[in-house]
Symmetry: C2
């Protein structure tokens, strides 16, 4: 994006730093235009120029944080076929869930915070921010594969949403009883999901 | 299956009726070979002839129950395109979950029975039996579409498992906070899943 005459040079960067700092202080914080502009020392008009909506602002901040924490993302390992890389990336999301008792404990946390009772607005916004981080992360992987030519250009937001729905299903299934090894059927589901995306 | 000389005519039917009755009396019952054979008045050898494993027996009983309760299944409505029918069928599985408070209550039941603590063997077997009913139901839909020529012949068990993983993901998402209408993104995910199956 080019800086327009109406905004001071560097204001975009200052806004992102201010917003990231505020999120660092309180991960569940809502980044209101007014509060972030005040923290960055810019006008709300300037902030709106760079980030027309609160969601665009939050997304930019979260994407920036993600690039910072995961610079050696395996999606870039071009010695491995695209489908294996994408399945490997999705496994990264599933890995912290564990299996058996650990998977049940992971789901308990989600259940108690978000499902047992109607979540508070703050909890809800915190969850939606985390969900967008995940969505960004998957869209980032898809963008890398599209740039390589391994994925037809298309609606990566919708593709990422679909892949995350499959991951959510697998997360639930890891916590539920299973007749066979969960990892065998999980493998088949991950490749089916990834092939659905890469094939069209 | 033809009756062999070693089994009395009609014993297969008597076994299925006995097992279905036992399941009707206690849906979480394990259908042991010995107990079902006793109830049906056949030898365990005859039961093993018709149903080599407990799982084959349970599957046959559950498939029979399903054909009985859903004779007017919309999968047979050939005026509607195959993909729309299959999406409609999957919606039937999702419908009882509801949205919002109702979806959270539905997940609470699953959580408390199966996830909060390690389920008992009886609860576990009851869940696996229900899961196989679902799996049969989806495989039945896929078999109908394959017979029509709308679906290439292939591994319908694995395809059904994949579709149920997507349904599980959507079930969890119905109970979680959502930025947009859950039904819009759900629609996209259901068609993506179904197209992945019908396309290959």
């Amino acid at each position: 994006m080019t800086e327009s005459a109406s905004s001071k040079p560097g204001s975009r960067h200052r806004i992102l730093v201010a917003a990231a700092t505020m999120l660092g202080e309180n991960p569940a914080a809502r980044l209101s235009v007014r509060s972030v502009a005040a923290r960055a020392g810019v006008s709300t008009g300037s902030l709106r120029h760079h980030f027309p909506t609160q969601r665009v602002l939050e997304d930019a901040v979260l994407a920036g944080i993600y690039d910072l924490v995961a610079p050696d993302d395996p999606i870039h390992d071009t010695d491995t076929p695209a489908r294996d890389r994408l399945v490997g990336c999705l496994r990264q999301i599933l890995a912290p869930t564990g299996t058996g008792r650990q998977a049940r404990a992971a789901l308990r946390q989600t259940y108690e915070t978000l499902i047992a009772t109607e979540p508070t607005e703050e909890t809800r916004q915190g969850y939606l921010a985390l969900e967008r981080t995940m969505q960004h992360r998957v869209e980032h992987w898809l963008a890398v594969l599209a740039d390589e030519g391994a994925l037809p250009h298309g609606d990566n937001a919708q593709r990422a949403k679909f892949l995350l729905t499959v991951v959510n299903g697998l997360t639930l299934e890891r916590a539920l009883p299973s007749a066979e090894s969960v990892l065998v059927s999980e493998n088949a589901a991950l490749f089916a999901a990834v092939d659905a995306i890469l094939g069209g």
